[in-house]
């Protein structure tokens, strides 16, 4: 079973059990973290942001139930799927655990195939949550897109890239050519027309220099004459 990229946290006060679990999961590709108590378990949860927690119930001084309640906090469900692995077979324990929102309840000792099946099921049914940014939190971030300058003139540049930029957009162009021409801080915008569609997935954008002084124009002309 391939659990590559998954993080699993195992909480049990019995180090032997932790060792066994680690061996069982050794070849799955999952990253395993461990904790010997409920409080350590909560700390590890915050540090490792696991996809799944496998947790014992009968721990002291704080039990697995304490851990579940702590994990749940004020919400009405658990933030991450939890598989309980306990020696306690009583109905009350089972009901109480499920009422706290666990994914499944396994009785020790558990058979390896069953354990792996339950782990796979829990992971499958619970995608790691995402953060949906509310409109006021949606960030405008600056990204860098690789591009190629294919033509230059006093008015601006023609730039090929996998991005088709909307007309009249403020952009920044970084290149050795731009540095040579000392245009690093000079305002540039895309042209008023639509960018040209080239072969599949490539576009030619018109990047025009705004406010070209005689100084800049002559620098560009010299550069063009030099390279022609």
């Amino acid at each position: 079973m391939n659990l590559q990229g998954k993080e699993i946290l195992i909480i049990d006060d019995n180090p032997d059990l932790l060792f066994i679990m680690r061996s069982i999961l050794a070849n799955t590709g999952a990253t395993i973290s461990e904790a010997l108590s409920a409080s350590e378990g909560f700390q590890r949860y915050q540090e490792r942001a696991p996809h799944l927690i496998i947790c014992d119930l009968g721990m002291k001084p704080h039990s697995g139930f304490d851990f579940l309640r702590l994990l749940r906090g004020q919400a009405n469900k658990l933030p991450v799927p939890v598989l309980v692995l306990s020696g306690d077979n009583s109905k009350t324990s089972v009901v109480q655990a499920f009422s706290l929102g666990i994914s499944d309840y396994l009785i020790k000792p558990v058979e390896t195939p069953m354990l792996l099946r339950k782990i796979r099921k829990s992971l499958k049914n619970n995608e790691f949550s995402s953060v949906q940014l509310s409109p006021d939190k949606q960030k405008n971030i600056a990204i860098e897109v690789p591009a190629t300058i294919v033509a230059a003139s006093e008015a601006g540049f023609r730039v090929n890239s996998t991005i088709r930029i909307a007309p009249n957009t403020k952009v920044k162009l970084k290149s050795e050519l731009i540095t040579t021409l000392q245009l690093g801080d000079h305002p540039v915008r895309t042209g008023p027309g639509a960018a040209l569609s080239l072969e599949k997935g490539f576009y030619q954008n018109e990047i025009r220099l705004v406010g070209v002084s005689e100084e800049i124009a002559s620098r560009i002309r010299k550069c063009i004459r030099f390279w022609k």
């Binding site: 490792r48 790691f128 897109v145 300058i149 033509a151 003139s153 162009l173 305002p187 705004v210």
Partner: protein, 230 residues
Amino acid sequence: MNSEKPLVYILDDDPDFLAIFQLMLAKLGFETKTFMKEPEFIEGIKKQKPGLCFIDINLHGFASGYPLVQSLHKKYGKELTLFVVSAQSGSVAISHAVELGATDYILKPVDSTILASKLQKFFITEGTREESLSFLEHPQGIEARLILDLKVVEVDELGIGFESDHLLSKGSVFYLKEDSFEFLKGAGDQLMSVSSNEAAPGNVFRGYAEFGSASEELLLKVRTWIQNNR
């Protein structure tokens, strides 16, 4: 092609400039109308919208051109192309004019070649076609990077969901800067690979980009960030 000459308006309080600039534009194949005062200019636009306006930013010695540009842009938006004209060459002044809605910026004294090349993007006339600039063509291309804004709407453990005015082709790559998100700090630019990008209502594109060649460390940082920001 349209045999009518495109109409441009010029607002400037210097009669010497108006005289010579008008001739320059006529030579490039434009019909011109000149104005020396703001109110007449505004009226003129109301009566007949020109293809383009040239506005002197230093009308009567005050930078009173700026508020005019701003209000015209607000009123007419894309319907009116505004070029600011000024003797000021600083990039701050230029950026400011553009922020307020000017499409381009012409420096005084006006160079007819530069003028033609800029106008060429908007109108093809006999004049602008002829005065075509020397273009340096570089078939292999010079390596460059385009920097622009992307709006992030979602973060999950494998990548980010974004919204943009621009189209990023599927399979294309871009870089997130270190300071965009807490989980990227200290790791340098992060390579992203676009896995989907589709047109969405409102004339935007919605897409998803995955963290490319992400280290375990990064993925952990992303997960803990998500956990803390849920």
